[in-house]
């Protein structure tokens, strides 16, 4: 993807700030008129509530998109999937194998932070654990692959070239880790906690 600037530690930090500015913009855009309305006419409270609700919904949808894009793997249901998960287990370390079995996400430590890799995307937890970036990325023509193999594909690509991986992947969301935690399925949350500590 020559038209995309190669991702780096600095570019991710910059993108994170832009996402934060965007979130603040949404809060101000909907929150300010809501507050103004109540100040002018307290009886306009329902309209203020609708405005506020709209703003919250926009923020909520963005995080949900990030959380759903990753897609954890579930328990193996056929032979191909068992074979794929077996190989994936061999590729990851002991600690990541346990986490994979529990949460369906593969933990991989990199220079940019700790990654949680799923079937169709990855979550990057930045050093310190307070900010996440959600990426949407898939295997080219990979519809026929068992879910475990899709994760193995993405994991290998990530190990080969972490910055290249972050460049190719599309951004879904960047923001505070706690916001993403709310939207992740309960089974996947321990993976986010582990990655935040990594």
């Amino acid at each position: 993807m020559p038209w995309r600037r190669r991702a780096s530690d600095q570019s991710l930090t910059r993108e994170g700030r832009i996402w934060t500015l965007w979130s603040v913009g949404v809060v101000v855009t909907f929150g300010l008129p809501a507050a103004l309305l109540i100040w002018i006419e307290p009886l306009a409270f329902p309209v203020s509530a609708i405005l506020l609700g709209h703003g919250i919904a926009v923020l909520h949808l963005q995080v949900r998109r990030g959380a759903r894009g990753v897609k954890a793997i579930s328990e193996a249901s056929d032979r191909a999937e068992r074979t794929a998960i077996g190989l994936l287990g061999d590729l990851v370390g002991h600690e990541a194998r346990e986490l994979l079995a529990k949460t369906g996400l593969a933990l991989e430590r990199g220079r940019l932070g700790a990654w949680l890799v799923g079937q169709e995307g990855a979550i990057l937890v930045r050093p310190g654990g307070h900010r996440v970036h959600c990426f949407c990325v898939r295997v080219g023509e990979g519809e026929d692959l068992p879910p475990g193999d899709r994760v193995a594909h993405l994991l290998l690509a990530l190990r080969e070239d972490e910055e290249g991986f972050a460049t190719v992947a599309n951004r879904n969301f960047s923001g505070a880790t706690w916001r993403l935690r709310w939207q992740l399925p309960a089974e996947a949350r321990p993976a986010l906690s582990r990655a935040s500590l990594a």
Partner: protein, 74 residues
């Protein structure tokens, strides 16, 4: 024994196995490797530090070489 595997719809398929002592098995592995690369697969081998490397020639000293498809933004 070293292995060349392809990630595919079956989970994975072992395409070749070779040893340092068996030249014929090495040649068969190299041919299988080239065939897969010609079909657009990427080959990856894990390095001692845990990272991986894309290879264009079959590293005969590697334990495991994995063939995978390219990735794309979702």
């Amino acid at each position: 024994m070293s292995r060349l595997i392809r990630l595919d719809r079956t989970g994975h398929t072992a395409l070749a196995r070779w040893t340092a002592a068996d030249v014929a098995s090495q040649q068969a592995a190299v041919e299988a490797f080239r065939r897969e690369l010609d079909e657009g697969m990427l080959a990856s081998t894990t390095l001692p530090d845990g990272s991986a490397e894309v290879v264009r020639e079959l590293p005969l000293d590697a334990d495991l070489v994995v063939l995978r498809r390219p990735i794309a933004g979702g």
